[in-house]
Amino acid sequence: MNVPAAEADLIEARSITKRYGSVLANDRVSLTLKGGEVHALLGENGAGKSTLSKILYGFTRPDSGEILRGGTAVDLRSPRDARAMGIGMVFQNFMLIPALSVAENIALFLTDLPAVVRTSAVEARIRRLAGRFGLRVDPGAPVRQLSIGDQQKVEILKLLLAEARVLILDEPTKVLAPHEVLELFQVFEALKAEGYAILFITHKLREVISCADRITVMRQGRVTGELPRGKADAGTLVTMMFGEKGVGERGQTPDAGRATRGAKDLLELHGAGTRARGSETALRDIELRIGEGEIVGVAGVSGSGQKELGDLILGLRPLAAGRKLFRGADASRWSIARMRDAGVAFVPEDCLGMAAVPGMSVRENLVLGTGRRYWKGASIDWGSLETRMGDSFRTLDFPLPRLAMPVGGLSGGNVQRVVVAREMAHEPKLVIALYPTRGLDARSAVSVRDLLRKVRDSGSGILLISEDLEELVEMSDRLLVMYEGAVVGEYPRGRWDAEQVGHLMTGSGEATRAG
């Protein structure tokens, strides 16, 4: 750690530790924010960046460690305390009221707001600051008419008017178009010149290298390094983010000798693309093959289009371009029901939210999504359903829950078992696993991975979407890397290279296709 240079230090976090259950979200993290500096906080999803920023903003209190403001320890009990200390934060989801004007939105945030608001005075203050820092927005315009980039400017203005000196921005570039990113960086320059401190949270390497004065890298709750500008290059940062051997070695043990390509193609995407709705990522020109008996892993930082890819294959969203083939047949326009009938199963991260109905019984949930298999006249053949599902639970070695019990009353693990047992009951040809181990404890995660391998060995194809790079490396027979809705890299088992994958995920490398 650097020795803090007393005067310029605005905020210092010392040895912050925060634990959530069995997860150590922050492990003795230290960080110093100096006036006139852009400090980038870099790390994968789940590295602990958000936890740290929430602690700095008083949202969460650390288990141990302290926060110093100008050299003296302070106790941040709420965001209100943090704001009083001159700390402000821009969240990923903006906290603006669309129907009100820019000035009104900002006025609402000010603590010194009089009972009768003189809008003209607030507007004048906004104009003054906006001109000084290049945050030009019309104070009278209703927020709903502003672009996302302009809304972000309003968020920053809000903090400046409230006299914040330390600005925390949580992935501010995620929602911006490239030219807006450049504008934001110019704003950073202007703020720096006036002595503001900026904490810029991101996982995009290129941006960090172009705008940060100091870079702190986190991995699995720990700070893995702090570098000043100039000493940081993409290679060093990728190693810090993903670890020396994070990508590459671990995966070669259990399945080292496996053929890298299944015999027959189950699913093919040719030039597939989608349109983005809302904050989704549009898929661009995807070429993908999933063969029988192989696990195709998809890596990428969150929001790179992985979820959209799974949904596209499931049939939840239409193709805007290209074709989808399932076992040789053109499935571009198949409904979800038809895809499922043809043998596509879906195991999501949040089973209760995406694959089960909490208010319905286990029995009823087991019949959902089984197509016409258990139809009997106007009713359902509950007997044969129970027999088949009972077998499925036994094969998987899951305990059978009470069938009349509402699924919402089961524990999270048991909900997932119900969903997995249902999805595996009819020998699926293709399993779409969307973050299947996210939020599971280590033992459950291992059993899910074993299950996926077993399904693979029985000849099914698996699309494994995950944010856990080690899991992907261990499981994947082929690994795809996605970035901004496109597949930017493809590697057969054992041929991936840690650094390259890291570069591709963070958008700092050249597209490769080694497959």
Binding site: A356, G359, E364, P406
Partner: protein
């Protein structure tokens, strides 16, 4: 919530439990309303005694309760069916009018058909009228264009205008030019009535519809699909359930039920189409379905209770000289109490 229902079922039979629940609500409402009557200088005990005497304790009064109950049972089912998919149908009133209008069209178009042909036609047309009227918001919702609550609500204002156009225009009866109404239905298009009262076959249709609603939701695979949409639309969609189609179908079936209510009024009671056919039966049905939480038995009990309350309005007007609108106080009280109970129940479940 089903968990809580199952638990209740284990402790004592469901019928007893539900009846007790509603009886409790009614007692509290009666006590508070009695206080209001006292303040107004009336004798609450006398008022309640009168109401009891002229409704439950009197054969004619009781038959009128069943007559009042008929349309609101159907409009309650019209709300309950879509509600199981998480859809809010506020359009029972409009669907009722359209059902009455289509039924009238059938009755006037085939005056020479025998009853055994004409009555099924009139009934089906009544159903179809309501179904079409509700399918419009259904399609708009399924295509994610307009929220079904708003669309069904707005169509309520359109349907009576269609009826008015026809009874002021093409269908205006020649016999009474002063009063806008359609010509009388041929006898073959009248629903049979029973025991020399105004109770008509519509009551049987209503009770059968209630039973069918229960069977559909609890005993068929279609019910499982519809309930899954209400329980978790995202999951239902990902599991391949045709969500958009079900939204249209469920609203249409619901609308059809309200249409049957309208058919019952023109064919069973009035024998012709006229303005002001419904004193808000569609909205009453909404309240009933909502207060009963969509449960068939609750709908039956609540519909009966609402029939008593609306009758009470007429009776108190005559015996106590109170304005009819006092029943609105009574209805509002009922609503408040049920609303107040709700969070407690959720916490218990």
């Amino acid at each position: 919530m089903p968990a809580e229902r199952n638990a209740a079922a284990r402790r004592f039979p469901r019928v007893v439990g539900e009846t007790g629940r509603y009886a409790g609500i009614v007692l509290v409402v009666l006590a508070v309303f009695g206080g209001i009557l006292l303040v107004a200088g009336k004798n609450p005990l006398k008022a309640y005694a009168d109401t009891f005497l002229y409704t439950l304790a009197n054969a004619y009064g009781f038959s009128e309760l069943l007559v009042r109950m008929t349309p609101i049972l159907l409009t309650a089912v019209a709300v309950a069916i879509p509600s199981r998919l998480g859809l809010i149908n506020v359009g029972g009133e409009g669907q009722l009018y359209l059902g009455a209008w289509m039924a009238t069209a059938g009755a006037l178009s085939f005056p020479h058909l025998p009853a055994w042909v004409l009555l099924p036609i009139v009934t089906l047309l009544g159903f179809a009228g309501g179904a079409v009227w509700a399918a419009i918001p259904g399609i708009l919702r399924a295509r994610k264009l307009v929220n079904e609550t708003i669309a069904t609500l707005l169509l309520n204002y359109v349907a009576p205008l269609i009826v008015s156009y026809f009874i002021f225009g093409p269908w205006r009866s020649a016999e009474s030019s002063a009063y806008p109404q359609s010509p009388a239905f041929p006898d073959a298009a009248r629903l049979p009535s029973f025991f020399n009262t105004r109770i008509h076959a519509g009551l049987i249709i209503a009770l059968v519809s209630l039973l069918l609603y229960w069977l559909l939701m609890e005993r068929t695979r279609w019910g499982v699909q519809m309930r899954s949409i209400g329980g978790n639309q995202e999951a239902a969609q990902r599991l391949g359930i045709p969500v958009a189609a079900w939204i249209v179908v469920a609203l249409a079936i619901g609308g059809g039920m309200a249409g049957l209510a309208g058919m019952g009024e023109v064919s069973g009671i009035h024998g012709r189409l006229r303005q002001g056919l419904s004193p808000g039966y569609g909205f009453t049905g909404f309240l009933i379905a909502w207060l009963a939480g969509g449960r068939p038995l609750g709908i039956l009990l609540m519909a009966f209770l609402f029939a008593i309350i609306t009758s009470a309005g007429d009776i108190l007007q005559i015996t106590q000289g109170l304005p009819y609108s006092v029943v609105n106080i009574l209805l509002a009280l009922l609503l408040f109490i049920v609303l107040a109970r709700r969070p407690a129940r959720r916490a218990a479940g």
